[in-house]
C-alpha cells in the first residue's frame, strides 16, 4: 500500500476527530439508544476531501478506537458499517471531478453529497444491521427500525453540517486560487 505521509496523518487525525465526535456527551439524543453524533459529519467531510480509502479507514479505525478506549466493548459490525459509510461518501471527489478542490460547490454538488450520505448510511449501516441479525440473532424488525432512524438522522446531520462546512471550505480554496487566476 503506497500511502504518503500526508495521507497517513490525515487518516490518523480524522480517526481521532471521529473518536472525539463519537463520545456520548457530545451527541444529540433523538431517540432512545440513538444519538446524532458530530462524528458522522467529521467522517463525511474527511471522505469528501480525501476520497474513499481515507474515508473507509477514518470510519473503521476511528470507530474501532473509540469503542476500544471508551470501554464499552467493540461492536465490530457497526465498526465495519462506519467504514463503508466513509467509503461510499468518499466517491464524491471522483464523481465531481474534484470541483471542490477548485473552490466550486454548486447546489448540484450539494444534492449529490446528500444522496451519497443517504446511500452511504443506508448501505453501510444496513450491512451492520444484517450482520447483527446473522451474528447476534437480533430481531429483523428491531434492526430495521434502528437502521431507518440512524440513516435518516445521520443524513440530516451530515447534510446540515456538511453544507456549512463545505461552503466554508470552498470559499477558503477559492481565495487561494484567485492569486493564480488573476
Amino acid at each position: 500500500m503506497n500511502l504518503s505521509a500526508k495521507t497517513v496523518v490525515v487518516i490518523a487525525i480524522g480517526a481521532a476527530l471521529y473518536g472525539i465526535g463519537g463520545l456520548p456527551m457530545f451527541g444529540i439524543p433523538v431517540f432512545a439508544n440513538t444519538t446524532l453524533k458530530p462524528a458522522m459529519a467529521v467522517l463525511a467531510l474527511f471522505s469528501v476531501l480525501f476520497g474513499p480509502l481515507v474515508g473507509f479507514l477514518v470510519g473503521f479505525i476511528g470507530h474501532w478506537v473509540t469503542d476500544l478506549f471508551s470501554g464499552w466493548g467493540v461492536w465490530l459490525t457497526w465498526v465495519l458499517g462506519s467504514g463503508i459509510v466513509g467509503l461510499i461518501i468518499g466517491l464524491f471527489p471522483k464523481l465531481t471531478q474534484g470541483r471542490l478542490e477548485k473552490g466550486e460547490f454548486s447546489m448540484k454538488d450539494m444534492a449529490l453529497f446528500v444522496v451519497l450520505a443517504l446511500v452511504g448510511n443506508t448501505v453501510g449501516y444496513g450491512v451492520s444491521a444484517l450482520l447483527d441479525t446473522v451474528l447476534y440473532a437480533e430481531p429483523f424488525t428491531k434492526v430495521m427500525t434502528q437502521l431507518t432512524i440512524i440513516a435518516a438522522g445521520n443524513t440530516i446531520l451530515i447534510a446540515v453540517v456538511g453544507y456549512i462546512l463545505l461552503t466554508a471550505f470552498a470559499k477558503r480554496k477559492k481565495q487561494s486560487r484567485n492569486l493564480t487566476e488573476g
Binding site: 500500500m1 500511502l3 504518503s4 505521509a5 500526508k6 497517513v8 496523518v9 490525515v10 487518516i11 490518523a12 487525525i13 480517526a15 481521532a16 476527530l17 473518536g19 472525539i20 465526535g21 456527551m25 457530545f26 444529540i28 432512545a32 439508544n33 446524532l36 458530530p38 459529519a41 467529521v42 467531510l45 479507514l57 479505525i61 476511528g62 478506537v65 469503542d67 476500544l68 478506549f69 471508551s70 470501554g71 464499552w72 466493548g73 467493540v74 461492536w75 465490530l76 451474528l135 447476534y136 440473532a137 437480533e138 430481531p139 429483523f140 424488525t141 428491531k142 427500525t145 434502528q146 440530516i156 446531520l157 446540515v160 453540517v161 456549512i164 462546512l165 466554508a168 471550505f169 477558503r172
Partner: protein
C-alpha cells in the same frame, strides 16, 4: 449537554486537577481518576487508558494479546451457546482481575455498558416479542399480556443469551487496553501483517486523541461563551447547526496541524522504506507460544462445535 455554568465548573476542576499532577504514582493516578469520575470532569474524560501494574498479563507480548482479542471475537460471534458464553465471561473477568487494575477504575463503564445492553434488550422485546419462540421452537407462557406481548420463557432465555453474548466482549476489551501499551499495539498490528503505514496511523490516532479532545473542548467553550447554545433549550435543527460552528474551526485547525505533522514525518524519512522496525516490539517468549497454542485449540474447538451443532441456541428446558 453542558450549559455555560456547567462548563465553567469543569474548567475550574480541570485546572485544579492539573496543579495536582506532580505526585505521579500509579495509585494516585487511579485514585484521581476515580475521584474525577464522581464530579463533572468525567464528562470530558476519554474512557480508559493503559495502566502499568506489571502483572503477568503485562509481560505477555502485544501480538499474543491482540491474537487473543481477535480469537475472542471469533468465538463470541460463532456461538449462541449460553454455557460457552458464560465460560467466556468468567474467563474474561478472571483475566480482568489478573490485570490488578482496581475495580473502581472500570466500575462506571460496567454500569454504563450494563444499562446500554438492558435498553437494547428492552427494545428487542418491544419490537419483536416472539423472536425467542421463533428461534427455539417452543412456547411456554410465563406471564400472559395483551396481544403478542405475552412473556414466554423462551423469549427471556433468548434475550439473556444475546445480551450476555454482547457483554462477553466487555471484559476482554478492557483487558486489552489496560495491559497493552499503545505503541506496542501498533507494532503488533504490523507484526500480524497490517501494512505499517496503517499501523502507524492507528498509533498516531491514539497519540492525537488527547490533543484533539482538548481542542474540541476549548473551541466548544469559546463558542459557548459567544452564545452558541448546544443544550436542550434550542431545537434539534439549531443544535445541529451549532455543532457545525464547533466542527468548522476544529476541522480546519486540525487539517493545518496534519500538514505540520506530515512535513515533520517526511523530513525524518517516513515512508521512504518498504519496511519499518518498532522500538516497542518485544520478542516472543515461551509463554507467548503456550498461550497462542491454547488460543488456536479453543478457537478450533469452538468452530467445530458450531459446524456440528444442529440447533443455533442451546436450550436445556
Amino acid at each position: 449537554m453542558q450549559n455555560n455554568t456547567n462548563s465553567e465548573s469543569t474548567l475550574n476542576k480541570s485546572a485544579a486537577n492539573k496543579s495536582n499532577m506532580n505526585k505521579n504514582t500509579v495509585n494516585n493516578d487511579i485514585k484521581k481518576k476515580h475521584k474525577s469520575s464522581i464530579n463533572k470532569t468525567k464528562k470530558i474524560d476519554f474512557g480508559i487508558n493503559y495502566v502499568n501494574t506489571n502483572s503477568a498479563l503485562h509481560q505477555l507480548n502485544g501480538v499474543t494479546k491482540f491474537v487473543l482479542f481477535l480469537a475472542w471475537v471469533t468465538v463470541v460471534l460463532t456461538t449462541f451457546d449460553l454455557r460457552l458464553i458464560l465460560a467466556l465471561i468468567i474467563t474474561g473477568c478472571t483475566l480482568l482481575k489478573l490485570t490488578k487494575v482496581p475495580f473502581s477504575v472500570y466500575k462506571p463503564l460496567l454500569i454504563a455498558t450494563a444499562s446500554v445492553l438492558s435498553i437494547n434488550a428492552l427494545f428487542m422485546f418491544l419490537l419483536a416479542p416472539q423472536q425467542g419462540v421463533e428461534y427455539i421452537g417452543s412456547s411456554t407462557v410465563l406471564l400472559p399480556l395483551w396481544g403478542d406481548y405475552s412473556l414466554t420463557q423462551e423469549t427471556l432465555y433468548y434475550l439473556l443469551t444475546v445480551t450476555l453474548k454482547y457483554f462477553s466482549m466487555f471484559p476482554i476489551a478492557l483487558v486489552f487496553v489496560f495491559t497493552t501499551h499503545p505503541t506496542e499495539f501498533a507494532a503488533s498490528l504490523n507484526r500480524l501483517g497490517v501494512p505499517y503505514k496503517i499501523a502507524y496511523a492507528v498509533s498516531l490516532t491514539l497519540r492525537y486523541l488527547p490533543d484533539v479532545k482538548n481542542d474540541f473542548v476549548n473551541i466548544m467553550h469559546a463558542q459557548q461563551a459567544r452564545g452558541v447554545d448546544l443544550s436542550k433549550n434550542v431545537s434539534v435543527l439549531s443544535r445541529i447547526k451549532n455543532v457545525a460552528k464547533i466542527l468548522g474551526p476544529l476541522i480546519f485547525s486540525s487539517l493545518d496541524r496534519a500538514d505540520e505533522i506530515s512535513n515533520a514525518m517526511t523530513l525524518r524519512g517516513f515512508g521512504h522504506n518498504n519496511k519499518r522496525t518498532w522500538y516497542s516490539l518485544k520478542p516472543m517468549t515461551k509463554q507467548d507460544y503456550t498461550v497462542m497454542g491454547l488460543i488456536v485449540l479453543v478457537v478450533t474447538l469452538a468452530i467445530i462445535k458450531r459446524v456440528m451443532a444442529t440447533e443455533l441456541f442451546w436450550y436445556p428446558f
